[in-house]
């Protein structure tokens, strides 16, 4: 079965090719079967392959397919590499991916923008799963890069899925271009890595990496971090993610919550031996994580769009993961990646159901009182929120977040821990805000619940996973990756860590159900300014608009005619001017010509006589 590992990425690819080649002419039911089915089978293959791998007891398994490029000493091959890390990732991608696909067969069912759009949607989704699998299974940084760019492309395609609306197109392009900035750094990291180590094979490179000078190691790590930051929507390249919510909700769940945005975490975890060589680089990873964590949490507090709240929450959760990577809690980061994939996918899908029931209404202030009318989404949302807030002991999020914060405290002192705990409190606050405003209070819009089995089943499964995922992590992941689960929950630090979210919830309930009146502050001048500042995502977009976008557009507008062409038009003008000057001597008068001939004669004679 392990030799069939190639089937895992190949099946979604096959699904993509089938949907692509038939140009959307297949009946929708068949499309649903192909779209979700290929990923489902891939998940099964992954399951069996993973079991066999675990039984084999080997630390890793690799399957060489073919040599991609062989030029001189550069010989990247297309090889699938399975170890604990990629196994977890593969499981998350195929498993959660399948559930989301299943959900999407229902969610997109009536979404007929144009004849082939159902098929197009699943083609893109399958392509995404393929690319994501290549990303995590590739044994070579170039193959990883293939997946990396591939998921970026699919992200672009799916954000802009409703392509008739130009705003979606803008969001899609923004996502692609901003992540491309990171990718450029990533590519430069690859160049540097190859120049220094002579190989892009991850294992070879890591094995040889001890030969690097610290300076070089830092440089490579920071360049790779640039890529990770772009893909994972971390400060300072985080601005694309909220806009990316323009895509259909399953897309947000799969790409912008569960899998693609965590690719950066995967990359750094994968290259951890390299980061271990450079304390500086590690430090920067943690700083990036902490900064994102706080910025995103504050921003989430003020958003009105339910998906944008979740998007900022995703950013902050990935910030936790980066912080974990930075403080050396590698396994905790992956653990949180996994639990986050469960509960954030759950949250997105549940919010998708809410949105669908309210006819694509996404503003939480136009919802309200939905908990009775939409029980399945409500309970899913509640479980997901609990995991996000990290309710002690009963949710998966608690275990993974605790692992991160406590490791941070152990290894790096109170700063990262404190920031993390503060953000946890904020998380509790905005999550409570979302839940209270969406599901309680007065009903503002009448919902039409349309829950079929293919839509509630994924919610149920993800709900279960959001709860038991933590125990799974402590049990299985600890064995695979190590370094998890041996925390005492009784120390004062642990108690504080545990208590802050609960306080946040309490505060949230009091504030957002109106028992504590904060209107005075919110409506004051300072409060409003602060709200707008948070609402704009700490004005990053404003800044980038002025620093990069506007000057570039200005340049484009000014130089449309190509300034270099001036050299040639100028040459032309000068030539033409000379021509006109020369033509002036052509008076058409015979005697003028004769006089000139005489002058010429004088010159010739002078020359002949040697006087000139």
């Amino acid at each position: 079965m392990l030799d069939l590992l190639w089937l895992v990425p190949a099946l979604p690819l096959l699904g993509f090719l089938a949907l692509f080649a038939t140009e959307g002419k297949l009946p929708d039911k068949l499309v649903a079967v192909i779209g979700a089915g290929t990923v489902g089978i891939a998940a099964l293959v992954a399951l069996f392959a993973g079991r066999e791998f675990l039984q084999s007891g080997e630390p890793s398994f690799s399957l060489s397919l073919w040599t991609w490029i062989a030029v001189a000493d550069f010989q990247p091959s297309i090889t699938l590499y399975l170890d604990a890390l990629s196994l977890v990732m593969m499981g998350v991608i195929t498993g959660v991916g399948f559930l989301i696909h299943l959900y999407a067969t229902g969610y997109m069912w009536k979404d007929h923008q144009e004849p082939a759009s159902y098929s197009r949607f699943f083609a893109y989704m399958n392509l995404f799963v393929f690319a994501m699998l290549m990303l995590v299974l590739g044994d070579n940084l170039l193959v990883l890069f293939l997946g990396w760019e591939g998921v970026g492309l699919c992200s672009y395609l799916l954000i802009g899925f409703y392509h008739r609306d130009a705003a979606n197109g803008y969001a899609a392009r923004k996502a692609f271009v901003v992540t491309r900035v990171g990718d450029t750094a990533f590519a430069l990291g690859l160049f540097l890595l190859f120049r220094e180590l002579g190989s892009l094979e991850i294992q070879q490179a890591l094995a040889a990496s001890s030969a690097l000078t610290p300076c070089m190691a830092t440089a490579i790590c920071l360049l790779l971090l640039g890529g990770a930051v772009g893909k994972s929507a971390q400060v300072p390249l985080q601005t694309w993610l909220p806009d990316a919510m323009a895509g259909p909700t399953p897309v947000s769940a799969l790409i912008h919550a569960a899998t693609m945005v965590t690719a950066g975490v995967y990359l750094i975890a994968r290259m951890q031996d390299l980061y271990l060589l450079s304390a500086n680089a590690q430090h920067y990873v943690a700083v990036v994580g902490l900064a994102t964590l706080l910025i995103a949490s504050f921003t989430a507090l003020t958003q009105r769009d339910i998906k944008r709240i979740l998007a900022y929450s995703t950013m902050s959760q990935i910030g936790y993961m980066f912080m974990a990577l930075g403080v050396g809690a590698w396994s905790a980061a992956i653990f949180h990646l996994m639990t986050h994939a469960f509960f954030k996918a759950l949250l997105f899908l549940a919010s998708g159901s809410v949105i669908l029931a309210l006819h694509h209404e996404q503003d939480i202030f136009k919802m309200g009182g939905l908990w009775k009318k939409l029980p399945v989404p409500f309970w899913s949302m509640a479980i997901g929120s609990g995991a996000l807030v990290a309710l002690p002991f009963v949710t998966s999020g608690f275990y993974s977040k605790d692992a991160i914060l406590l490791t941070a405290y152990d290894t790096s002192g109170w700063l990262y821990w404190g920031g993390g705990v503060l953000a946890a409190g904020l998380t509790a606050l905005y999550t409570t805000r979302m839940m209270v405003i969406t599901f309680f209070g007065d009903a503002k819009t009448e919902p039409h619940e349309d829950s079929r089995i293919n839509m509630w089943l994924p919610l149920a499964v993800l709900g279960v996973l959001s709860i038991v995922g933590g125990w799974f992590g402590i049990g299985v992941l600890d064995e695979l990756l190590g370094g998890l689960g041996d925390f005492s929950h009784a120390s004062p630090v642990a108690v504080v860590t545990m208590a802050v979210p609960l306080l946040g919830i309490l505060l949230g309930v009091l504030v957002f159900s109106g028992r504590i009146d904060v209107a005075g502050f919110v409506e004051s001048k300072a409060g409003d300014a602060l709200r707008r500042f948070f609402d704009s995502g700490w004005a990053f977009d404003w800044l980038y608009e002025r620093v990069f976008v506007k000057p570039f557009l200005w340049l484009a507008r000014v130089n449309k005619g190509d300034v270099v062409d001036l050299i040639y038009t100028l040459t032309k003008s000068i030539t033409r001017g000379l021509h006109h000057t020369g033509a002036l001597t052509q008076t058409g008068r015979l005697r003028w010509y004769a006089a000139n001939m005489a002058i010429g004669l004088i010159v010739v004679l002078l020359l002949a006589a040697g006087w000139l």
């Binding site: 490029i69 008739r164 130009a166 271009v177 990718d183 160049f191 120049r195």
Partner: protein, 486 residues
């Protein structure tokens, strides 16, 4: 055999002209289709036949003007064969893309296409500098006619600009050729235009830089590189679709080929000294071409500027002076041949349907023509440099090679990848996405004929992107024989 292929193309040109006059106006396109198909078949056969012991797939030697050491020396090695095959394939693409676009002078049109391609095949195979220059000029004149006769609204200006740029730079090259032959004669007593004899020519240090520049300017103009690129946007925009396809797909590659085959090996030391500057031009081309592409509102002009950006990678790769860079340049040549030809074909198809190239008059075309939308998306994504497609392999190798030669320039050029995403996706957005333009009531989608060519090019790009090894092996032999790499 090589001369035979060239002569077949030339004869087919005459035949097409005659057929258009005496048989039927639609006969010429079949003639040239057949000629290119036969040429492609010949190239594939040569490839299947394998290379001889000397690494050549075919060679020919016919004395021409022995008194001045001028001979017809044609050789088909790996690189040449690749380029010839691409030429023939793009010949077919050009014919298909102009299938019902041309209305007047169909016979003469095909005549010009066939003669350009004959010249190109000659350029790719000639190993006698005189003969090379001869073919260099042969491909210029018919191209001029293609633009000047069947071009769009501003064709006179564009064709003259094209002609002047290529002609003047070509004359510089002629000067350099003559000087090279003269100095070689002076030092060795042998009067010859033969490439192999001149390879080791003993030329003083002060002179060879200038001779190298003579070649470099000619090839850089053809490539084109900033700052001698301004003929290209005009020529591309004004040329008929087939002309743009040929221009972007093949003619630009003759510049790159010339750099690899002539400019660098004939003057290895001078080129080495000049390498940093050439790479600088390459990096500037990448960034400037990209930024300019973004500024354009004309579909074809945008693609034209994107070509300039892509050609920058070739300069970077060639002058990186290592095998990675050189291979990257060669793969880029081929991949760009596919991707840009396809985009120009798309631009032509849109113009044929909507009678405009202005993107402000498009928008939302996906709704009317999803096939065209998907194809545009694919080729835009390819030219943006998506891994798994040909352009990525070329550009990545070129940059990887360039990184070993100069880090700052490579960093600059890599930023060009971001710019590529900006203009590529903007092109997609303005033409096919967004709200459907109310002025466009309906648009005929691609039919089977266009789709078959498109799918072939798609397959080509995927092949180059996923398994470029056969191609790399073919060019590796050539690169090794150039003997300029450490």
């Amino acid at each position: 055999m090589i001369l035979g292929a060239i002569l077949v193309l030339l004869a087919a040109g005459a035949l097409a002209w005659a057929a258009g006059r005496f048989v039927s106006p639609n006969a010429p396109r079949w003639v040239s289709m057949l000629a290119f198909a036969a040429g492609l078949a010949w190239a594939v056969l040569e490839w299947q036949g394998g290379a001889g012991a000397n690494g050549l797939y075919a060679e020919q030697f016919i004395p021409w003007i022995p008194r001045f050491g001028i001979n017809v020396i044609l050789e088909l090695d790996g690189l040449s064969l690749l380029m010839v095959a691409l030429t023939m394939f793009l010949g077919i693409v050009a014919v298909v893309s102009s299938w019902d676009e041309i209305e007047a002078g169909k016979g003469f049109f095909q005549f010009n296409i066939l003669w350009v391609m004959a010249g190109v095949v000659g350029v790719f195979t000639a190993l006698d500098l005189f003969l090379f220059f001869f073919f260099w000029e042969v491909m210029l004149i018919p191209m001029y006619f293609l633009i000047a006769i069947w071009g769009h609204e501003n064709k006179g200006y564009a064709s003259m600009k094209f002609f002047l740029f290529t002609q003047i730079s070509g004359l510089l090259m002629l000067l350099a050729i003559l000087a090279l032959v003269y100095f070689h004669h002076a030092s060795s007593g042998e009067l010859t235009f033969g490439y192999k004899a001149l390879l080791g020519a003993d030329i003083s240090e002060s002179v060879r830089l200038w001779l190298m520049l003579g070649f470099f300017v000619a090839f850089a103009t053809k490539l084109p590189s900033v700052p001698v690129h301004t003929w290209l946007p005009d020529a591309h925009t004004q040329a008929p679709t087939a002309g743009s396809v040929i221009l972007a797909g093949i003619l630009l590659k003759t510049g790159a080929y010339g750099l690899i085959r002539f400019a660098v090996p004939l003057f290895p030391d001078a080129s080495q000294d000049f390498a940093w500057w050439a790479m600088l031009l390459g990096a500037v081309s990448v960034l400037y071409g990209g930024a300019m592409a973004f500024s354009q509102s004309d579909f074809k002009r945008l693609v034209a500027y994107s070509s300039i950006a892509h050609m920058g990678f070739i300069l970077l790769g060639v002058y990186a002076f290592n095998e990675l860079g050189m291979q990257g340049a060669i793969v880029t040549m081929i991949a760009h041949g596919f991707s840009t030809a396809a985009l120009f074909m798309m631009a032509g198809a849109i113009q044929h349907r909507l009678h405009t190239r202005e993107m402000s008059r498009m928008g939302g075309l996906w709704v009317h023509a999803p096939r065209m939308g998907v194809m545009t998306l694919f080729f835009v994504v390819a030219s943006v440099g998506m891994p798994g497609l040909g352009n990525f392999v070329g550009e990545f190798l070129a940059l990887l090679g360039a990184f070993r030669a100069s880090v700052p320039l490579t960093v600059a050029a890599t930023i060009g990848i971001v710019v590529a995403a900006v203009y590529g996706l903007y092109l997609m957005q303005r033409s096919f996405q967004g709200a459907p333009n109310p002025d466009v009531a309906a648009m005929r989608d691609f039919g089977a004929r266009e789709m078959s060519v498109m799918v072939l090019m798609m397959a080509g790009l995927v092949w180059v992107g996923v398994y470029p090894q056969p191609l790399l092996d073919m060019s590796a032999a050539t690169i090794a024989k150039l003997g300029v790499l450490p």
